[in-house]
């Protein structure tokens, strides 16, 4: 089993976590945010524990019990709506004794498993329109609950999972067109659902200097942080953009800018390479998985991962609108980190059992 283990994948995600913790330490020590460093270390340990624990069970158990897990997820999401805590304008956090948790992060994994199981059990080369809608329903119910929580950013991350797994299950061109039409028809409704600040964020991508005092400010400051890092970076704790507070959300959504400022192009490129490496290893697992169900789970996780990475980095380097999406493994935040370690545990589980019958 030790030889079956993908050490490189584990090494990559741990390195990413350490890079994140370093950046958090550099930029929050001595400020009111200094608790984030310690917390993140604890979350990393917790994540690794869950990662290891998940290797113990055969992943089929999760597939077998997915109906219960999925329903439990929905109930928790519903519960959050009633008793949840709000952070910023979202009401997506639940207080579990000593810490707050964002259940939507774990529900994403449940949705991946459920959708993978549904599509793989169909055992068809191409899925029909009815099956597509059924798959869509599996995704849409939790999405609706998350939207009701006001967390549009998280809700959007479910869509690529649906798209990727449907594609893998076999989707016909006419169905793609049909779904696109539905999506385009729904887009104006989505625009109505957006809040004022969300709209202005999208508008500022096209012209960041149009509003330097508001939304554009974050993008401009992030670009300044990254650019001023030049080739080798300013060094640990030497980043003025991060340490003097010019960079918004420097320990969470914009943590990559801190890394790029302090470690330069070298550091930024290294992090980018690690993300690509993780993607490649997950891709390899998807190809080598024993059966379709396993492949689909890994592709679901890979899609979620890539979506987070690309949207976050695109935002930080000023190519995409500002969206409250964290950088996997790097950004401060327990829910995301722990959920990603759990997801990686699941994928590793699929990897080490690829020959088991």
């Amino acid at each position: 089993m030790l030889f079956n283990f993908d050490w490189l994948l584990l090494l990559s995600i741990v390195l990413l976590s350490i890079a994140g913790i370093t950046a958090i330490w550099s930029t929050t020590e001595g400020t009111s945010l200094n608790t984030y460093f310690g917390k993140q270390v604890v979350y990393l340990c917790l994540g690794l524990l869950i990662f290891l624990a998940l290797l113990y069970f055969d992943y089929h158990i999760f597939s077998d019990f997915i109906v219960f897990i999925y329903l439990a997820g929905l109930i928790v999401l519903g519960l959050v709506l009633v008793i949840g805590e709000s952070s910023y304008s979202n009401k997506s956090w639940i207080n579990v004794g000593i810490f707050s948790f964002q259940p939507s992060e774990l529900v994403k994994i449940a949705v991946i498993i459920a959708l993978a199981k549904y599509y793989s059990e169909l055992d068809m080369d191409y899925v029909g329109f009815r099956e597509l809608l059924m798959g869509g329903l599996i995704v849409f119910i939790p999405v609706l609950l998350v939207i009701l929580q006001g967390d549009l950013g998280t809700a959007v991350t479910f869509l690529p999972i649906y798209a990727a797994l449907s594609f893998l299950a076999g989707i016909k061109k006419k169905h793609i067109i049909a779904l696109l039409i539905i999506f385009i028809a729904a887009a104006p409704i989505g625009w109505f659902l957006l809040r004022g600040y969300q709209k202005s964020r999208i508008e500022t991508v096209f012209n960041p200097s149009s509003d330097p005092h508001r939304s554009g400010y974050q993008t401009i400051q992030s670009e300044i942080a990254i650019g001023s890092g030049k080739f080798l970076g300013k060094g640990f704790k030497r980043g003025s953009q991060g340490n003097l507070g010019f960079l918004p959300a420097r320990h969470t959504d914009f943590v990559f800018a801190v890394l790029a400022e302090e470690k330069g192009f070298v550091g930024g490129f290294a992090v980018l390479s690690l993300f690509l490496l993780v993607s490649y290893r997950l891709y390899r697992i998807a190809l080598e998985a024993k059966e379709k169900n396993g492949s689909m789970i890994v592709v679901g996780v890979l899609t979620l991962f890539l979506f987070h990475v690309i949207i976050n980095l695109g935002m930080v380097v000023g190519l995409l609108p500002i969206a409250g999406i964290p950088l996997p493994f790097v950004s401060a935040g327990g829910s995301s980190l722990v959920s990603y370690y759990a997801a990686m545990g699941l994928c590793m589980n699929i990897w080490i059992r690829r020959y088991v019958n």
Binding site: G227, Y283, A286, G318
Partner: protein, 626 residues
């Protein structure tokens, strides 16, 4: 089953491999963007990051103080607080506006205007919400600091004119530089937001009064809080200007003009030092030190009596009989009065078929030059003017500085008009009528002079032909003004001729002439009255038939030892001897009082009309805006 699995795997392989290149491509774009930001534009962004955290705080230098000739403070600086708003820190604009409206009494409309003006300002450039905030405003802002961190207080120097309206036209006022002024580069070195002199001494000596701004370079965090000092250069206060004005005389002049429209100037005829210069109505330059409201500005600029205008130099009027002094000079110098001829005044004379009247209806009888000056006989000068002709009159008048700027060190001086046939052809496009010469002979017609020009000409008579350059600057930074040369033109005029004119002026005041109301026991005053007819309308303003004449008096003391020369001009004041001469008397008396040896007790306040204003202390002359 196994086969099926293999087929499935094939399918998944196929479908997954479609994503390889797009994903790789996206990562390449991200890497390229990093390269673009960090390698290609790295230095630019490094500069921006530096600018982000290094703040240059301008330490605006206070303007130089302005003193009178006895070093009494006329203009100083006071610290004042402005309320600023940093948009970057504003969480909720509506809440902030509501707070400012309710607690600081700034109208929402005004705030909106100020926001609009500051729209294009860069990051961390605050908007000025309220100038000259009071203690109450400051304490309210302090109390709500946590809720509204965007609202800040900043200290600033503002001009304080210690005596309000006093000498407002000489001192001038300051204001923020306008865009047009920046474009025209009217004030070299001034930046947007700089406070510059807009009139008077503030304007003409702006460069001297402006200090050298200092600067503090500090590290700041994103909230603008200083986290470290890089360097500091102290601001350098502008030069201190000591003026030639005498506060006591100035006050007498201002009081004499109260409720009247006109101007008074007192000058040392020997060197051109202006001892007092008052113009009425006046204004309070303190009103311009803070942002002046539009209504206040309009009421000043559109007032029918033009309070912003310095009537002593910025407007010109018919000199009336005062011009007879110039006629006397011309007559004597051209030899027309050789043998001291007498003219028989019957109260009028007829030239070119028109009747020209004398002030005395019954006539002065046979009259010679001195008495013609003293009694202001028109007929004598009609006759003289006819003999001289306009060209010779104009030449002598110009020699005495009429129709040309005096060169005083104050902005906006009027040139006036000394007419001649050439001038008339050029300005009006018509030939000179002989009858016009008769009118000019008594200072009517097209002759137009500023009160200061008259004073300068009279001073030249007093000093035997020294045409001085009037000026208000005495010394810069206690550095006895030696660097400034005030040119004196020597007018070639025979001493005995001057003596005759002086004699006439002396008789005017001291021998029951028209100027007798100016007489002061103990002073040997020479003077001349003027009563200028105002015909029909004046500057487009319909005055009706009954408009009173402009009233003039110009004179000096002492007759053979000139120390002080005074001109008094009252718009529509009536007869010069009645309206203006008594005012001149007040100035002469005050001057005489000051020359007396100080009392043995050494009590300073007795020689000074009021005590020197102490900084921040109560004002003897209440400035409105304090």
């Amino acid at each position: 089953m196994v086969l099926q699995q293999e087929a499935n795997k094939q399918l998944i392989h196929q479908r997954l491999s479609l994503f390889r290149f797009p994903v790789l491509f996206v990562f390449l774009i991200l890497a390229a963007r990093l390269w673009q930001l960090q390698i290609i534009h790295g230095s630019e962004y490094a500069l921006k990051a530096e600018r982000n955290r290094v703040r240059r705080i301008e330490l605006v230098a206070p303007r130089g103080e302005i003193l009178d000739r006895n070093r009494k403070l006329l203009v100083e600086n006071r610290t004042s607080s402005d309320v600023l708003l940093y948009r970057e820190w504003m969480k909720d604009k509506n809440a902030a506006v509501q707070f400012l409206e309710q607690k600081l009494e700034v109208s929402a409309e005004d705030i909106e205007k100020r926001f609009h003006r500051g729209k294009s300002a860069g990051l961390y450039y605050p908007i000025v919400i309220k100038e000259d905030a009071g203690m109450r405003d400051i304490s309210v802002i302090e109390a709500y600091r946590g809720e509204f961190p965007e609202i800040q207080i900043s200290l600033k120097f503002r001009r304080r004119y210690c005596y309000g309206n006093l000498a407002a036209h000489v001192l001038g006022y300051v204001g923020e530089i306008t865009e047009a002024e920046i474009e025209a580069n009217r004030f070299p070195g001034a930046k947007p937001g700089s406070v510059v002199g807009q009139s008077g001494v503030e304007r003409s000596y702006n460069q001297l009064l402006t200090g050298r701004d200092g600067e503090r370079q500090v590290f700041v965090d994103s909230r603008g809080r200083e986290v470290g000092l890089i360097g500091e250069t102290d601001p350098l206060i502008g030069s201190e200007l000591q003026l030639t004005l005498d506060l006591d005389l100035q006050l007498i002049a201002e009081r004499a003009l109260a409720e009247k429209v006109g101007a008074i100037v007192a000058m040392d005829p020997r060197n051109g030092e202006i001892l007092a210069m008052a113009s009425s109505p006046s204004f309070d330059p303190n009103a311009f030190s803070s942002r002046i409201s539009e209504e206040a500005w309009r009421s000043l600029t559109q007032h029918p009596d033009h309070p912003m205008q310095n009537r002593a130099i910025q407007n010109s009027y018919s000199p009336g009989s005062i011009f007879k002094l110039i006629m006397a000079v011309a007559g004597l110098e051209e030899g027309m009065l050789d043998g001291d001829p007498s003219v028989n005044c019957r109260g009028y004379a007829v030239y070119y078929g028109r009747i020209y009247r004398c002030a005395s209806k019954t006539g002065h009888g046979p009259i010679k030059l001195e008495q013609a000056i003293a009694k202001s006989c028109n007929v004598f000068f009609y006759e003289l003017g006819k003999k001289l002709g306009i060209s010779r009159i104009a030449r002598h008048a110009q020699a005495f500085g009429l129709g040309q700027p005096t060169g005083i060190d104050l902005p906006g001086e009027r040139q006036g008009i000394m007419p001649s046939p050439e001038w008339k052809m050029k300005a009006r496009g018509s030939a000179w009528y002989a009858g016009e010469t008769i009118s000019v002979s008594i200072g009517q017609g097209a002759v137009n002079t500023t009160p200061l020009q008259i004073l300068r000409a009279v001073s030249a008579i007093a000093t035997g032909g020294n045409l001085v350059t009037p000026h208000v600057l005495l010394a810069v930074d206690k550095n006895d003004g030696g660097s400034v040369e005030w040119p004196v033109k020597k007018i070639p005029i025979a001493e005995r001729n001057v003596h005759k004119i002086r004699e006439g002026m002396w008789q005017s005041v001291n021998n029951w002439g028209t100027g007798h109301n100016a007489a002061v026991p103990g002073l040997d005053i020479c003077g001349k009255t003027g009563t200028a007819q105002v015909i029909g309308s004046d500057k487009g303003r319909d005055l009706g038939e009954e408009a009173e004449d402009h009233s003039w008096f110009a004179g000096y003391a002492n007759k053979d030892d000139p120390e002080i020369a005074v001109v008094v001009f009252i718009e529509h004041g009536g007869k010069g001897g009645v309206a203006s001469a008594p005012i001149a008397k007040e100035l002469f008396s005050a001057y005489l009082e000051k020359q007396k040896p100080k009392s043995i007790t050494g009590d300073e306040s007795r020689t000074s009309m009021f005590k020197e204003s102490t900084r921040g202390g109560p004002l003897p002359f209440q400035a409105k805006n304090d």
